[in-house]
Protein backbone atom coordinates (compact mmCIF):
# COMPACT_ATOMS: atom_id res chain seq x y z
CA UNK A 1 0.00 0.00 0.00
CA UNK A 2 1.26 3.48 -0.86
CA UNK A 3 2.08 5.79 1.97
CA UNK A 4 -0.72 8.32 2.41
CA UNK A 5 0.20 11.81 3.47
CA UNK A 6 -1.23 12.49 6.96
CA UNK A 7 -2.66 15.82 5.81
CA UNK A 8 -4.52 14.15 2.97
CA UNK A 9 -5.71 11.51 5.38
CA UNK A 10 -7.00 14.16 7.74
CA UNK A 11 -9.15 15.82 5.08
CA UNK A 12 -10.29 12.51 3.70
CA UNK A 13 -11.47 11.49 7.18
CA UNK A 14 -13.40 14.73 7.56
CA UNK A 15 -15.08 14.83 4.16
CA UNK A 16 -14.92 11.84 1.86
CA UNK A 17 -14.66 9.05 4.43
CA UNK A 18 -16.74 10.66 7.13
CA UNK A 19 -16.97 8.10 9.90
CA UNK A 20 -20.61 8.82 10.60
CA UNK A 21 -22.00 9.35 7.13
CA UNK A 22 -20.16 6.63 5.26
CA UNK A 23 -19.28 4.13 7.97
CA UNK A 24 -22.35 4.46 10.20
CA UNK A 25 -20.32 4.69 13.36
CA UNK A 26 -21.37 6.64 16.41
CA UNK A 27 -25.02 6.70 15.46
CA UNK A 28 -26.48 6.10 18.92
CA UNK A 29 -25.13 9.22 20.62
CA UNK A 30 -25.67 11.01 17.35
CA UNK A 31 -29.40 10.37 17.43
CA UNK A 32 -29.85 11.08 21.12
CA UNK A 33 -27.57 14.09 21.48
CA UNK A 34 -28.49 16.02 18.37
CA UNK A 35 -31.57 17.71 19.74
CA UNK A 36 -29.80 20.91 20.77
CA UNK A 37 -26.89 22.64 19.13
CA UNK A 38 -25.21 23.46 22.44
CA UNK A 39 -24.93 19.89 23.60
CA UNK A 40 -23.99 18.77 20.09
CA UNK A 41 -21.01 21.15 20.09
CA UNK A 42 -19.92 19.96 23.55
CA UNK A 43 -20.19 16.30 22.63
CA UNK A 44 -18.46 16.91 19.31
CA UNK A 45 -15.51 18.65 20.93
CA UNK A 46 -15.11 15.86 23.45
CA UNK A 47 -15.19 13.27 20.66
CA UNK A 48 -12.54 15.10 18.60
CA UNK A 49 -10.16 15.17 21.53
CA UNK A 50 -10.72 11.63 22.74
CA UNK A 51 -10.70 10.10 19.27
CA UNK A 52 -7.43 11.75 18.25
CA UNK A 53 -5.70 10.68 21.45
CA UNK A 54 -7.04 7.14 21.72
CA UNK A 55 -6.41 6.27 18.07
CA UNK A 56 -2.77 7.34 18.41
CA UNK A 57 -2.47 5.63 21.79
CA UNK A 58 -3.96 2.40 20.49
CA UNK A 59 -1.56 2.53 17.58
CA UNK A 60 1.36 2.55 20.01
CA UNK A 61 -0.20 -0.18 22.12
CA UNK A 62 -0.88 -2.37 19.11
CA UNK A 63 2.51 -2.14 17.44
CA UNK A 64 4.74 -1.82 20.49
CA UNK A 65 3.03 -4.24 22.86
CA UNK A 66 0.51 -6.57 21.23
CA UNK A 67 2.32 -7.45 18.00
CA UNK A 68 5.70 -8.25 19.61
CA UNK A 69 3.93 -10.44 22.16
CA UNK A 70 1.73 -12.10 19.54
CA UNK A 71 -1.48 -11.09 21.29
CA UNK A 72 -3.33 -9.54 18.34
CA UNK A 73 -6.45 -11.54 19.11
CA UNK A 74 -6.86 -9.65 22.35
CA UNK A 75 -6.76 -6.26 20.71
CA UNK A 76 -10.52 -5.72 21.06
CA UNK A 77 -10.41 -6.07 24.81
CA UNK A 78 -7.20 -4.09 25.11
CA UNK A 79 -8.52 -1.24 22.95
CA UNK A 80 -11.70 -1.00 24.97
CA UNK A 81 -9.77 -0.91 28.21
CA UNK A 82 -7.38 1.72 26.87
CA UNK A 83 -10.29 3.90 25.75
CA UNK A 84 -12.16 3.52 29.03
CA UNK A 85 -9.06 4.22 31.09
CA UNK A 86 -8.16 7.24 28.98
CA UNK A 87 -11.62 8.72 29.26
CA UNK A 88 -11.63 8.18 33.00
CA UNK A 89 -8.23 9.86 33.30
CA UNK A 90 -9.27 12.84 31.19
CA UNK A 91 -12.44 13.22 33.19
CA UNK A 92 -10.56 13.32 36.47
CA UNK A 93 -7.95 15.75 35.13
CA UNK A 94 -10.49 18.11 33.67
CA UNK A 95 -12.62 18.03 36.79
CA UNK A 96 -9.62 18.81 39.00
CA UNK A 97 -7.86 21.50 36.97
CA UNK A 98 -10.39 23.00 34.54
CA UNK A 99 -13.72 23.20 36.33
CA UNK A 100 -15.14 25.59 33.74
CA UNK A 101 -14.35 23.18 30.93
CA UNK A 102 -15.70 20.31 32.99
CA UNK A 103 -18.99 22.12 33.27
CA UNK A 104 -19.29 22.28 29.48
CA UNK A 105 -17.78 18.98 28.46
CA UNK A 106 -17.79 16.82 31.58
CA UNK A 107 -21.14 15.15 31.27
CA UNK A 108 -20.33 13.96 27.76
CA UNK A 109 -17.12 12.20 28.64
CA UNK A 110 -18.56 9.04 30.23
CA UNK A 111 -20.86 8.62 27.24
CA UNK A 112 -17.87 8.48 24.96
CA UNK A 113 -16.62 5.18 26.27
CA UNK A 114 -19.48 3.41 24.55
CA UNK A 115 -19.30 5.49 21.40
CA UNK A 116 -18.66 3.01 18.62
CA UNK A 117 -16.98 5.66 16.48
CA UNK A 118 -14.05 5.87 18.88
CA UNK A 119 -13.54 2.13 18.92
CA UNK A 120 -14.19 1.92 15.20
CA UNK A 121 -11.48 4.46 14.42
CA UNK A 122 -8.97 2.32 16.30
CA UNK A 123 -10.05 -0.77 14.39
CA UNK A 124 -9.81 0.94 11.02
CA UNK A 125 -6.38 2.16 12.02
CA UNK A 126 -5.22 -1.43 12.51
CA UNK A 127 -6.87 -2.79 9.36
CA UNK A 128 -5.47 -0.05 7.12
CA UNK A 129 -2.04 -0.29 8.75
CA UNK A 130 -1.56 3.37 9.61
CA UNK A 131 1.61 4.48 11.37
CA UNK A 132 1.65 6.75 14.41
CA UNK A 133 1.39 10.14 12.65
CA UNK A 134 -1.22 8.83 10.26
CA UNK A 135 -3.26 7.48 13.17
CA UNK A 136 -3.17 10.83 14.88
CA UNK A 137 -4.31 12.57 11.69
CA UNK A 138 -6.95 9.96 11.03
CA UNK A 139 -8.31 10.12 14.58
CA UNK A 140 -8.46 13.91 14.61
CA UNK A 141 -10.05 14.02 11.15
CA UNK A 142 -12.66 11.41 11.99
CA UNK A 143 -13.53 13.21 15.20
CA UNK A 144 -13.88 16.48 13.38
CA UNK A 145 -16.01 14.86 10.70
CA UNK A 146 -18.28 13.43 13.37
CA UNK A 147 -18.54 16.82 15.06
CA UNK A 148 -19.33 18.48 11.74
CA UNK A 149 -22.16 16.04 11.09
CA UNK A 150 -23.70 16.25 14.55
CA UNK A 151 -23.57 20.05 14.67
CA UNK A 152 -25.12 20.32 11.21
CA UNK A 153 -27.92 17.92 12.11
CA UNK A 154 -28.61 19.55 15.46
CA UNK A 155 -28.94 22.95 13.78
CA UNK A 156 -31.42 21.52 11.29
CA UNK A 157 -33.37 19.75 14.04
CA UNK A 158 -33.59 22.90 16.15
CA UNK A 159 -35.00 24.79 13.23
CA UNK A 160 -37.34 21.96 12.35
CA UNK A 161 -38.77 21.71 15.84
CA UNK A 162 -39.77 25.36 15.80
CA UNK A 163 -41.16 25.73 12.32
CA UNK A 164 -42.16 22.48 10.71
CA UNK A 165 -45.37 20.53 11.13
CA UNK A 166 -44.41 16.92 10.64
CA UNK A 167 -46.75 14.12 9.65
CA UNK A 168 -47.73 11.71 12.40
CA UNK A 169 -45.01 9.24 13.27
CA UNK A 170 -42.28 11.07 11.41
CA UNK A 171 -41.13 13.14 14.34
CA UNK A 172 -38.12 12.05 16.39
CA UNK A 173 -35.73 9.42 15.06
CA UNK A 174 -37.45 8.88 11.71
CA UNK A 175 -37.00 12.41 10.40
CA UNK A 176 -33.48 12.58 11.85
CA UNK A 177 -32.52 9.46 9.92
CA UNK A 178 -33.96 10.84 6.71
CA UNK A 179 -32.13 14.15 7.14
CA UNK A 180 -28.96 12.22 7.85
CA UNK A 181 -29.50 10.31 4.64
CA UNK A 182 -29.82 13.56 2.70
CA UNK A 183 -26.70 14.92 4.40
CA UNK A 184 -24.83 11.74 3.49
CA UNK A 185 -26.00 12.22 -0.07
CA UNK A 186 -24.62 15.75 -0.02
CA UNK A 187 -21.32 14.49 1.35
CA UNK A 188 -21.04 12.09 -1.57
CA UNK A 189 -20.35 15.18 -3.65
CA UNK A 190 -16.99 15.46 -1.89
CA UNK A 191 -15.96 12.01 -3.01
CA UNK A 192 -14.19 13.23 -6.14
CA UNK A 193 -11.98 15.50 -4.05
CA UNK A 194 -9.64 12.98 -2.43
CA UNK A 195 -9.41 9.29 -3.01
CA UNK A 196 -8.25 7.32 -0.02
CA UNK A 197 -9.15 3.87 1.10
Amino acid sequence: MDYINPVTLFFAAVFTNNILLTNFLGLCPFLSMSRQKRSAVGMGAAVVFVMACTTALNNLVHYKVLVPLGLEHFRYIVFIVVIAAFVQLVEMTVERFFPALYFVMGIFLPLITVNCAIFGASLFMVIRKYDFVQSLAYGAGSGLGWMLAIVAISAIREKLEKTAKLPRGLEGPAITLIITGLLALAFLAFSGMIRVQ
Binding site: L21, T22, N23, F24, L25, G26, L27, C28, L31, H73, F74, Y76, I77, I80, A84, T113, V114, N115, C116, A117, F119, G120, L123, F124, I127, P167, R168, G169, L170, E171, G172, P173, A174, I175, T176, L177, I178, T180, G181, L182, A184, L185, L188
Partner: protein, 205 residues
Protein backbone atom coordinates in the same frame (compact mmCIF):
# COMPACT_ATOMS: atom_id res chain seq x y z
CA UNK B 1 -39.37 -2.72 36.55
CA UNK B 2 -42.35 -4.81 35.47
CA UNK B 3 -43.27 -7.73 37.66
CA UNK B 4 -42.33 -11.33 36.95
CA UNK B 5 -43.47 -11.56 33.35
CA UNK B 6 -43.92 -14.92 31.66
CA UNK B 7 -41.17 -16.15 29.39
CA UNK B 8 -43.29 -15.86 26.30
CA UNK B 9 -44.20 -12.30 27.13
CA UNK B 10 -40.56 -11.36 27.59
CA UNK B 11 -39.72 -12.91 24.25
CA UNK B 12 -42.51 -11.17 22.36
CA UNK B 13 -41.76 -7.80 23.93
CA UNK B 14 -38.30 -7.84 22.45
CA UNK B 15 -39.38 -9.25 19.14
CA UNK B 16 -42.24 -6.94 18.41
CA UNK B 17 -43.59 -4.54 21.01
CA UNK B 18 -40.34 -2.91 22.07
CA UNK B 19 -38.46 -3.64 18.89
CA UNK B 20 -34.98 -2.34 19.64
CA UNK B 21 -34.29 -0.76 16.26
CA UNK B 22 -37.64 0.68 15.26
CA UNK B 23 -38.92 1.63 18.67
CA UNK B 24 -35.83 2.51 20.65
CA UNK B 25 -33.47 3.21 17.72
CA UNK B 26 -30.64 1.55 19.56
CA UNK B 27 -27.57 -0.21 18.37
CA UNK B 28 -27.86 0.52 14.71
CA UNK B 29 -24.26 1.68 14.48
CA UNK B 30 -22.29 -1.35 13.53
CA UNK B 31 -24.90 -3.33 11.76
CA UNK B 32 -26.49 -0.85 9.38
CA UNK B 33 -23.25 -0.81 7.45
CA UNK B 34 -23.52 -4.41 6.33
CA UNK B 35 -27.13 -4.37 5.13
CA UNK B 36 -26.30 -3.83 1.48
CA UNK B 37 -25.85 -7.57 0.97
CA UNK B 38 -28.17 -10.21 2.38
CA UNK B 39 -25.40 -12.73 3.04
CA UNK B 40 -23.40 -10.29 5.15
CA UNK B 41 -26.53 -9.34 7.04
CA UNK B 42 -27.34 -12.93 7.91
CA UNK B 43 -23.83 -13.66 9.17
CA UNK B 44 -23.77 -10.48 11.19
CA UNK B 45 -27.18 -11.29 12.67
CA UNK B 46 -26.07 -14.75 13.69
CA UNK B 47 -23.05 -13.28 15.45
CA UNK B 48 -25.17 -10.69 17.17
CA UNK B 49 -27.78 -13.17 18.38
CA UNK B 50 -25.08 -15.40 19.82
CA UNK B 51 -23.38 -12.50 21.56
CA UNK B 52 -26.52 -10.97 23.03
CA UNK B 53 -27.88 -14.26 24.34
CA UNK B 54 -24.64 -15.49 25.82
CA UNK B 55 -23.64 -12.19 27.37
CA UNK B 56 -27.11 -11.71 28.87
CA UNK B 57 -26.87 -15.18 30.32
CA UNK B 58 -23.40 -14.60 31.73
CA UNK B 59 -24.18 -11.20 33.16
CA UNK B 60 -27.23 -12.66 34.81
CA UNK B 61 -25.31 -15.62 36.24
CA UNK B 62 -22.72 -13.29 37.71
CA UNK B 63 -25.17 -10.67 38.85
CA UNK B 64 -24.83 -11.50 42.54
CA UNK B 65 -21.05 -11.46 42.47
CA UNK B 66 -20.43 -8.31 40.42
CA UNK B 67 -19.68 -5.21 42.49
CA UNK B 68 -21.98 -2.36 41.58
CA UNK B 69 -19.29 0.19 40.79
CA UNK B 70 -17.30 -1.79 38.26
CA UNK B 71 -20.22 -3.59 36.64
CA UNK B 72 -19.91 -1.68 33.34
CA UNK B 73 -16.33 -2.81 32.95
CA UNK B 74 -17.23 -6.39 33.79
CA UNK B 75 -20.09 -6.36 31.29
CA UNK B 76 -17.88 -4.92 28.58
CA UNK B 77 -15.26 -7.59 29.14
CA UNK B 78 -17.87 -10.36 29.03
CA UNK B 79 -19.25 -8.99 25.77
CA UNK B 80 -15.79 -8.54 24.28
CA UNK B 81 -14.89 -12.16 25.05
CA UNK B 82 -17.91 -13.47 23.19
CA UNK B 83 -17.29 -11.15 20.25
CA UNK B 84 -13.74 -12.44 19.96
CA UNK B 85 -15.14 -15.98 19.76
CA UNK B 86 -17.54 -14.91 17.00
CA UNK B 87 -14.78 -13.10 15.14
CA UNK B 88 -12.43 -16.09 15.21
CA UNK B 89 -15.24 -18.43 14.12
CA UNK B 90 -16.16 -16.26 11.15
CA UNK B 91 -12.51 -15.89 10.17
CA UNK B 92 -12.03 -19.64 10.28
CA UNK B 93 -15.15 -20.83 8.49
CA UNK B 94 -16.20 -17.90 6.27
CA UNK B 95 -12.98 -16.07 5.35
CA UNK B 96 -14.50 -14.21 2.38
CA UNK B 97 -17.32 -12.79 4.45
CA UNK B 98 -14.93 -11.94 7.25
CA UNK B 99 -12.96 -9.88 4.73
CA UNK B 100 -16.11 -8.07 3.59
CA UNK B 101 -17.33 -7.37 7.10
CA UNK B 102 -14.01 -5.83 8.07
CA UNK B 103 -14.06 -4.21 11.48
CA UNK B 104 -17.81 -4.43 11.89
CA UNK B 105 -17.80 -7.78 13.66
CA UNK B 106 -15.60 -6.33 16.37
CA UNK B 107 -17.89 -3.36 16.58
CA UNK B 108 -20.60 -5.61 17.98
CA UNK B 109 -18.83 -4.95 21.30
CA UNK B 110 -19.85 -1.33 21.34
CA UNK B 111 -23.32 -2.04 20.03
CA UNK B 112 -25.47 -0.28 22.58
CA UNK B 113 -28.15 -2.93 22.44
CA UNK B 114 -26.08 -5.57 24.20
CA UNK B 115 -24.99 -3.25 26.96
CA UNK B 116 -28.55 -1.95 27.15
CA UNK B 117 -29.98 -5.42 27.71
CA UNK B 118 -27.33 -6.27 30.26
CA UNK B 119 -27.98 -3.05 32.12
CA UNK B 120 -31.77 -3.00 31.87
CA UNK B 121 -32.70 -6.65 32.13
CA UNK B 122 -30.01 -9.22 32.81
CA UNK B 123 -28.75 -7.41 35.89
CA UNK B 124 -32.06 -7.92 37.72
CA UNK B 125 -33.38 -11.19 36.32
CA UNK B 126 -32.62 -14.90 36.55
CA UNK B 127 -30.45 -16.49 33.84
CA UNK B 128 -33.14 -18.23 31.80
CA UNK B 129 -35.34 -15.13 31.53
CA UNK B 130 -32.31 -13.05 30.56
CA UNK B 131 -31.38 -15.52 27.88
CA UNK B 132 -34.90 -15.40 26.43
CA UNK B 133 -34.96 -11.63 26.64
CA UNK B 134 -31.67 -11.50 24.74
CA UNK B 135 -33.02 -13.91 22.16
CA UNK B 136 -36.20 -11.88 21.62
CA UNK B 137 -34.39 -8.58 21.39
CA UNK B 138 -31.71 -9.81 19.03
CA UNK B 139 -34.23 -11.61 16.84
CA UNK B 140 -36.32 -8.46 16.62
CA UNK B 141 -33.19 -6.59 15.74
CA UNK B 142 -32.22 -9.12 13.09
CA UNK B 143 -35.64 -9.04 11.49
CA UNK B 144 -35.38 -5.32 10.91
CA UNK B 145 -31.91 -5.62 9.45
CA UNK B 146 -33.07 -8.40 7.15
CA UNK B 147 -35.97 -6.19 6.07
CA UNK B 148 -33.54 -3.38 5.26
CA UNK B 149 -31.30 -5.73 3.31
CA UNK B 150 -34.39 -6.97 1.50
CA UNK B 151 -34.93 -3.43 0.21
CA UNK B 152 -31.33 -2.49 -0.41
CA UNK B 153 -29.90 -5.50 -2.20
CA UNK B 154 -32.56 -5.90 -4.91
CA UNK B 155 -32.65 -2.18 -5.62
CA UNK B 156 -28.90 -1.65 -5.42
CA UNK B 157 -27.52 -4.77 -7.12
CA UNK B 158 -30.66 -6.28 -8.67
CA UNK B 159 -29.95 -9.51 -6.79
CA UNK B 160 -30.98 -11.30 -3.63
CA UNK B 161 -28.53 -13.63 -1.90
CA UNK B 162 -26.57 -13.42 -5.14
CA UNK B 163 -29.45 -14.54 -7.39
CA UNK B 164 -30.94 -12.19 -9.93
CA UNK B 165 -34.43 -11.06 -8.94
CA UNK B 166 -34.95 -7.93 -10.98
CA UNK B 167 -35.78 -8.04 -14.72
CA UNK B 168 -32.97 -7.66 -17.25
CA UNK B 169 -33.52 -4.03 -18.14
CA UNK B 170 -33.49 -2.90 -14.49
CA UNK B 171 -31.28 0.09 -13.81
CA UNK B 172 -29.48 -0.35 -10.50
CA UNK B 173 -30.00 2.33 -7.88
CA UNK B 174 -26.41 2.88 -6.92
CA UNK B 175 -27.42 5.13 -4.06
CA UNK B 176 -29.03 2.18 -2.28
CA UNK B 177 -25.75 0.34 -1.82
CA UNK B 178 -24.04 3.45 -0.53
CA UNK B 179 -24.53 4.99 2.88
CA UNK B 180 -27.47 7.35 2.18
CA UNK B 181 -29.63 4.43 1.06
CA UNK B 182 -29.38 2.80 4.46
CA UNK B 183 -30.29 5.96 6.33
CA UNK B 184 -33.26 6.67 4.09
CA UNK B 185 -34.57 3.10 4.23
CA UNK B 186 -34.34 2.91 8.01
CA UNK B 187 -35.84 6.39 8.39
CA UNK B 188 -38.85 5.49 6.29
CA UNK B 189 -39.27 2.18 8.12
CA UNK B 190 -39.21 3.90 11.51
CA UNK B 191 -41.82 6.32 10.21
CA UNK B 192 -44.16 3.60 8.96
CA UNK B 193 -43.74 1.69 12.21
CA UNK B 194 -44.55 4.68 14.36
CA UNK B 195 -47.48 5.63 12.17
CA UNK B 196 -49.22 2.28 12.43
CA UNK B 197 -48.17 1.24 15.93
CA UNK B 198 -47.88 4.46 17.92
CA UNK B 199 -46.73 4.13 21.50
CA UNK B 200 -49.53 4.77 23.97
CA UNK B 201 -47.72 7.00 26.46
CA UNK B 202 -45.93 9.00 23.79
CA UNK B 203 -48.68 11.47 23.08
CA UNK B 204 -46.63 14.59 23.69
CA UNK B 205 -44.36 13.59 20.84
Amino acid sequence: MPGPASKKEVFLTGLWKDNPVLRQVLGICSTLAVTNLMVNTLVMDAGLIFTVCMSSLTVSLLRKYTPMRIRMMVQTLIIASYVIIVDIMIKAYLPDISEALGPYVALIITNCIIMGRAEAFARHNPPLASFIDGLGMSLGYSLVLIAIALVREPLGFGTLLGFRVMPEGFVQWTVMIMAPGAFLTLGIMAWVWKYFWPQKEEKKG
